[in-house]
Structures are given as structure tokens and as C-alpha cells.
């Protein structure tokens, strides 16, 4: 079902929002990635993504979260953007989306939660754990950061594999603002 929804969104089809989903405020939300170039942290944005969040802090284990990022919306500066959207990096032409789909969500205390799920980038998948905080203002603000290995997903092939210039660790940071709480599940 969730996968079908994501595909429908990706295809630009109208989707009826499920009654329990939070409404995401995209112009206040942000997903960035940060790597180290020659030891220098450099952060770039993904301007377009779709987040579907059905989260109840009182019952986190019933939550479902899925995020689809348009890889072509990577933005740092024009020269870098062309390269990163290109074949050796994200290959936005053949892999227009990077996706996270949760399989389980649990509370880990102090307003912190953990979503486990599958991250798929450039055709490579792996199980990841994404810690996040939830602040219950309005619909709630979700914030978190986790680290992936770019080489695991073949991001930066060929001459870019060398991690002395661009490090292997990439920090994915997100802040997702919603303006309506999820409807209480029965």
C-alpha cells in the first residue's frame, strides 16, 4: 500500500491523503546531506521531497513513515549540482528518487524515537535506524540526523571513490514540520 502511494506520488497522480496522516508543511521542512571535502564539512539541500507521516507519539509502534527525495533536487552550487545529479553520484536520470520506508518505530525515551526501515538510494538498499525527536507543536516537528556510507550506495564512483577528497560518511539531516496532528487511531 505504502509503496503504491509513493509510486503514485512519484508519477504525479492525485492521491487521497489517508485520514491519519499529518499534513507536511514543505516550505518549513528541510532535508540536507553533509559530507566532508578535504576534511571540510559541506552541506547541501534536497529541495523536493515527499514525506508521508502517520505518527502518534502515544502509540509510536503503530506509526508509518515514508520519505521520497527527488535526487535531481540536490542543490549546492551549479557546478557541483551537475556533477552530483550525474551518473557517477546520484544518477538522478536513472534513479530519480531515494526512499526511506519505515518498518518499525519505537520510543527510546526523553521525547526521542527511532525509526527502522529500508533506505534505497541508486538501486542499493539497506536497513537503517533513524533516530529523531518529536516536538508536539501544532502537528509536530520531526528532527533527526543519521549517517550513511556513500560508497555502500555507489554514490561517487570511479575517480570519486577516493575518500581522501570526499569522505565516505554522509550525514543526512532532516527537519519536517507538520501542521496537523495524526488522527488518533482506535
Amino acid at each position: 500500500m505504502m509503496r503504491w502511494l509513493i509510486l503514485a506520488v512519484a508519477a504525479g497522480l492525485p492521491v487521497v491523503t489517508a485520514a491519519t496522516e499529518q499534513n507536511v508543511v514543505y516550505d518549513k521542512s528541510r532535508i540536507t546531506c553533509a559530507s566532508r571535502q578535504m576534511g571540510v564539512p559541506v552541506e547541501a539541500d534536497f529541495r523536493q521531497f515527499t514525506a508521508r507521516i502517520d505518527f502518534d507519539p502515544g502509540r509510536p509502534d503503530g506509526s508509518r513513515i515514508s520519505i521520497a527525495i527527488n535526487t535531481a533536487s540536490f542543490e549546492f552550487d551549479p557546478e557541483v549540482d551537475d556533477e552530483v545529479r550525474g551518473r557517477l553520484w546520484l544518477n538522478a536520470h536513472d534513479f530519480p528518487q531515494a526512499r526511506f520506508i519505515s518498518s518499525s518505530v519505537r520510543a527510546i525515551g526523553n521525547g526521542r524515537y527511532e525509526a527502522r526501515g529500508t533506505l534505497e538510494i541508486k538501486g542499493a538498499r539497506s536497513e537503517v535506524t533513524v533516530p529523531f525527536t518529536y516536538q508536539p507543536a501544532a502537528g509536530g516537528v520531526f528532527e533527526g540526523v543519521f549517517v550513511i556510507s556513500r560508497l555502500h550506495y555507489n554514490i561517487g564512483e570511479g575517480k570519486w571513490r577516493d575518500t581522501d577528497t570526499v569522505g565516505d560518511d554522509v550525514q543526512i539531516k532532516f527537519r519536517i514540520v507538520t501542521d496537523s496532528p495524526a488522527a488518533k487511531r482506535k
Binding site: 578535504m38 576534511g39 564539512p41 559541506v42 552550487d77 557546478e79 557541483v80 575517480k159
Partner: protein
């Protein structure tokens, strides 16, 4: 110091138009490290000059030449400070922090701002063009003193030439 500036200048000219590659990222880092080094040496040099007056020009030098030499020296000092600063600000506005030798992070003085970064990049380039012209005039004047006036100006600038 001249050698460092010449390296930084040549590397900057060369790397700016390269296609993006790991090597280009390395060149940019080296260029920034050179710039930071030059900036520190320039500050020391100016502190020295502020506390130790320049030697007097040879007797009989026309006043306009003294004035011109003085103006060019002040401009050279200004530029060896302003050029690294403009590069640092350009990098800062471009969203790439400067980390000296990959170890010592310098504060980002400006937030990321693309139009500002492009403007500062232009400023950095124009100041460098200005420096190239001044260096040429400065060197031509020194050679003129050496070969035409046959005074000790060039020997004074380059002690390894030895006394006459």
C-alpha cells in the same frame, strides 16, 4: 613570500576553469592554505614595517618617483591583506568553510549566499589582476634602478645578490 603569492596566483588562475574533479577539490584546498599562510606572513610583514621604517630612497630621486613608489608600496600591502580576505569571504559565502591545512577551521564570517559569493569571487579576481599589474610596475621600477640608475635598490630588496 613572493614565491607563495606566485604559486597561489598561478594555482588560482589554473584551477578556476578546471572541470570538477577530486584534483580540483585538492587544488582549491591548497590554494586556500596558501592564502591563509600569505595572510599571516603579510600581517607580520606589515607589523614589522610599522615598527621599522623603510630605508630611505637614494639621494637625488625625483619627488614624483618617491611618491609613486610610496603609493605602490601601500597598495601592495593593502592587496596582500585584501586578497586573502576576499578569498576567505568568497569561500564562506559559497558555503565551504576554510580549514587551514585541513586541521584548523577558520570561522565562517558570512552565511551561505550565492549572489554575494559570486560578487566576492569577482572582487577576488579583480584584486588579483590589480596585484599582477602592481607587481609588474614594482619589478620594472626595481630593474630600472638596477640597470639604468645603477643604484643599490635591487640589491637592498634581494640581499642574496650581494653588495656591489
Amino acid at each position: 613570500m613572493f614565491a607563495l603569492i606566485a604559486c597561489g596566483f598561478a594555482l588560482g588562475q589554473y584551477m578556476a576553469d578546471l572541470p570538477l574533479s577530486p584534483m580540483k577539490l585538492r587544488y582549491f584546498s591548497w590554494h586556500k592554505w596558501l592564502g591563509v599562510t600569505i595572510f599571516m606572513l603579510a600581517v607580520m610583514r606589515i607589523a614589522w614595517r610599522a615598527t621599522h621604517p623603510a630605508p630611505l630612497p637614494p639621494a637625488g630621486t625625483p619627488a614624483w618617483q618617491n611618491a609613486a613608489a610610496g603609493a605602490i608600496h601601500i597598495l601592495l600591502y593593502l592587496l596582500i591583506i585584501a586578497i586573502p580576505l576576499s578569498g576567505w569571504l568568497h569561500s564562506s559565502a559559497a558555503g565551504v568553510q576554510t580549514v587551514y591545512l585541513g586541521l584548523l577551521p577558520l570561522p565562517d564570517l558570512l552565511p551561505k549566499n550565492k549572489p554575494l559569493s559570486e560578487f566576492l569571487g569577482e572582487v577576488h579576481e579583480i584584486l588579483n589582476d590589480g596585484l599582477a599589474v602592481l607587481v609588474a610596475v614594482h619589478a620594472a621600477a626595481a630593474l630600472k634602478h638596477h640597470f639604468v640608475n645603477r643604484d643599490d635598490i635591487l640589491r637592498r630588496m634581494l640581499p642574496f645578490l650581494g653588495p656591489r
